[in-house]
Amino acid sequence: MSSSVFSVLSKFVAEYRRSTPAKLKVVDAYLLYILLTGALQFFYCVLVGTFPFNSFLSGFISCVGAFVLGVCLRIQINPQNKSEFLSLSPERAFADFLFAHAILHLVVVNFIG
């Protein structure tokens, strides 16, 4: 069983390396970074407790929000999804991404205390 999982995984990774455009890989790297940061924050909280709770929340939500916005951006600039986003150009997607981030940052910094 494990061998089949491993083979599926290695096939998936190979396929990913081959067929994904570079732009998307850049975004994927960014998403991975966000994910790791969020996971580390959560781990720290589990370890030492939730004081100060507001700081933890804002940091964690910042990671979650950034991840979500990143995923949105990736979906929107993926050429394979062009049919669904006819009126939305990648530039526009990026502009939306930046604007949403500005608001997210504002809220996070407000809450971080």
Binding site: A22, V26, A29, L40, A95, L106
Partner: protein
């Protein structure tokens, strides 16, 4: 045991029932002071014909005349309006009460009055016209009136109207058929509200109740048939009418005066008021029990005799007196109770007033107190040794002198006192309610009070065990003045007697501390506020480690990006491009400044400025990029 218990319960219930069934006696009546107040209130100067009517007729019912009869008559004549039935009623009734006052009469007046007697007039109009006709001496068609009244009763089925019907019927000829109207008295009596078994009144109020009394007795006297009112109801009506001692209006005072006259002068029920002259107490100095027996107007009742049916002691229930008559002297009924040689205490008297078959509430229960003087005999003081129980010396002290020597008692000895309390006049031993022994320390002001108890032979004994009682004295040794206090409700001479001085010696004497008065108003100790303990923070090492750890993925990101070949080689140095990047960097910088220094409002202000700049620049830049994308090689 249970049988005895049940028997006791049974007798108690019977006793309770018997006591409850005792006759009700008036709790309110018109005392001479109340009567004077009522007369003064009625004797107001006249404002109009109606007030003149109330004053004149009310006072005449109480048996006195208005101050100036002639002026009153002139007033009536001047205020009279011959075309108004009410005006005629007030004037004619009032003129009847004055002597030598005649109201002028004309044919029109008579016709007006006769025309008012019909089924279509209101009850009030019928009542007033019939009364006017009768007081002016004019003939009245009684049967017509009766039928009109009967019709109006069914139409105006309220209490006040029926009372007026009763009053009207009492002015008619005795040959008329008044039976139907007479029955209304019973119906009205059923409508009275019983309040606590003491008061009986209409919900319409005092005036209605008083008018009912007047009307019922007026009609009953007229037809010579006893009204269907039970004794208790009569007494309850008396209570209701006379419970109010100051009256709001002339009409109210008038109704009370009429009711008072009815209660004291009718042919069937005369309520009796028995009050004692002063407190109901006798003693050797005051051996006479004095009673006043009057009607509710506080007037003496002619030809009555008063006697004690039975008198028994409350405590022992033994009958002391039976069928003893009171003697009448100067309007007061007297009885020399001390002749029966009663012991001191309380006695329950059952007094009966006889002589007139009309008397109501003529059996009265009263409590009489017999007081006496007490003497202290055989006051013996001694100091007894605890071990040997032999009195070292017994000193006899005579009241009211004080013992010449003081007594000393320490922890091995007891101080003992014995005495007898006897009635001065009869020599019988007494057990008053209060027999206290008070020890007073003159130096510290401390006092301790004990109770002296009688033994089976009614000899009072008091023993002070110095060792046992030292806590009451706070172990303060010294000279204490000993007082004997004797008191009771039936004693005329309560006693406070400084019998002797006692020197008490206690072991473990504490320094006599002056008793600190509790000072409640000094500043209290300050309460220090305890702030909430700050939460435990993890050690700095851990947080620093994790900060580094959290920043590490950034490093990974850059590595990945480089590996992927992300670069900024396509960076065009267009102004909008530069401006966009600068603006974006400024926004991020603003976030940092917001975290450290600014508040939301300031941040929003700056953000708006920078944001709009960035947006414009960015829009430009992205548009250029898009164009470049569609036209490669530009």
């Amino acid at each position: 045991i249970f049988k005895q218990f049940n028997l006791n319960i049974f007798t108690m219930i019977l006793l309770a029932l018997a006591l409850g069934a005792q006759a009700l006696t008036p709790s309110h009546h018109l005392s001479p002071a109340d009567l004077d107040r009522l007369k003064a209130f009625l004797n107001q100067p006249f404002t109009d014909l109606e007030s003149a009517y109330y004053s004149i007729v009310g006072l005449s019912k109480l048996g006195i005349a208005v101050s100036d009869e002639h002026a009153a008559c002139q007033f009536l004549k001047s205020q009279l309006d011959p075309s108004n039935i009410d005006s005629l009623f007030f004037a004619s009734e009032a003129s009847q009460a004055l002597s030598g006052c005649q109201i002028p009469l004309s044919n029109e007046t008579r016709d007006l009055l006769l025309a008012a007697v019909s089924e279509d007039s209101t009850m009030s109009q019928i009542h007033r016209s019939v009364s006017t006709l009768s007081s002016l001496g004019l003939p009245v068609a009684s049967q017509e009136v009766v039928s009109a009244l009967t019709t109006r009763i069914t139409k105006e089925d309220n209490v006040l109207a029926i009372i007026l019907a009763l009053q009207t019927a009492s002015r008619l000829s005795q040959q008329a058929e008044l039976g139907g109207i007479l029955e209304e008295i019973e119906d009205l009596a059923a409508r009275l509200d019983d309040l606590g078994g003491i008061y009986l009144q209409f919900e319409e109020g005092l005036e209605a109740t008083a008018h009912f009394v007047t009307a019922a007795y007026a009609l009953s006297d007229h037809v010579d048939i006893e009204p269907p009112l039970k004794e208790d109801q009569v007494v309850q009506l008396v209570n209701s009418v006379f419970s109010k001692k100051s009256w709001d209006s002339l009409s109210e005072a008038f109704s009370v005066a009429s009711a008072a006259a009815a209660f004291s002068g009718n042919r069937f029920h005369i309520p009796v008021v028995v009050t004692s002259q002063g407190p109901a107490a006798v003693s050797h100095r005051q051996p006479m029990l004095q009673l006043q027996v009057t009607d509710i107007l506080s007037q003496p009742l002619p030809s009555i005799s008063v006697q004690v049916e039975s008198a028994h002691a409350v405590a022992s229930k033994s009958v002391v007196l039976s069928q003893a008559p009171f003697t009448l002297r100067d309007g007061i009924f007297e009885l020399n109770f001390m002749d029966s040689q009663p012991a001191s205490g309380y006695y329950q008297f059952a007094v009966a007033v006889t002589g007139d078959s009309r008397l109501v509430a003529n059996h009265v229960e009263m409590k009489v107190k017999v007081s006496t003087e007490v003497a202290i005999n055989n006051m013996d003081l001694s100091v007894v040794d605890k071990d040997q129980s032999i009195g070292t010396k017994t000193t006899r002290v005579e009241y009211p002198s004080k013992a010449k020597t003081s007594f000393t008692a320490d922890s091995h000895q007891n101080f003992a006192m014995s005495f007898q309390l006897v009635d001065v006049n009869t020599g019988v031993e007494l057990t008053p309610h209060q027999t206290f022994v008070r020890l007073h320390n003159q130096k510290t002001g401390q006092e301790v009070v004990f109770v002296a108890e009688p033994d089976s032979k009614n000899v009072y004994k008091f023993e002070l065990d110095t060792a046992e009682r030292k806590s009451e004295f706070d172990s303060i040794s010294g000279t204490y003045a000993l007082y004997l206090i004797v008191g009771d409700a039936t004693l005329e001479n309560p006693i406070l007697w400084n019998v002797a001085d006692v020197v008490l010696k206690f072991l473990d004497e504490e320094i006599p501390s002056v008793i600190q008065p509790k000072n409640l108003y000094v500043p209290k100790p300050e309460i220090k506020h305890l702030f909430r303990d700050p939460e435990k923070k993890p050690p700095t090492v851990v947080s620093n480690t994790f900060t580094a750890l959290v920043l590490s993925p950034l490093l990974l990101l850059f590595i990945l990006w480089i590996k992927l070949g992300a670069n900024i080689s396509n960076f065009s140095f267009t102004p909008s491009c530069i401006l966009f990047h600068l603006g974006h960097a400024a926004m991020l910088g603003l976030m940092y400044v917001y975290w450290t220094q600014l508040n939301m409002f300031q941040t929003l202000k700056y953000l708006a400025i920078i944001g709009s700049l960035t947006f414009l620049a960015g829009n430009r830049m992205l548009a250029q990029k898009a164009v470049k994308r569609y036209r490669p090689g530009c």
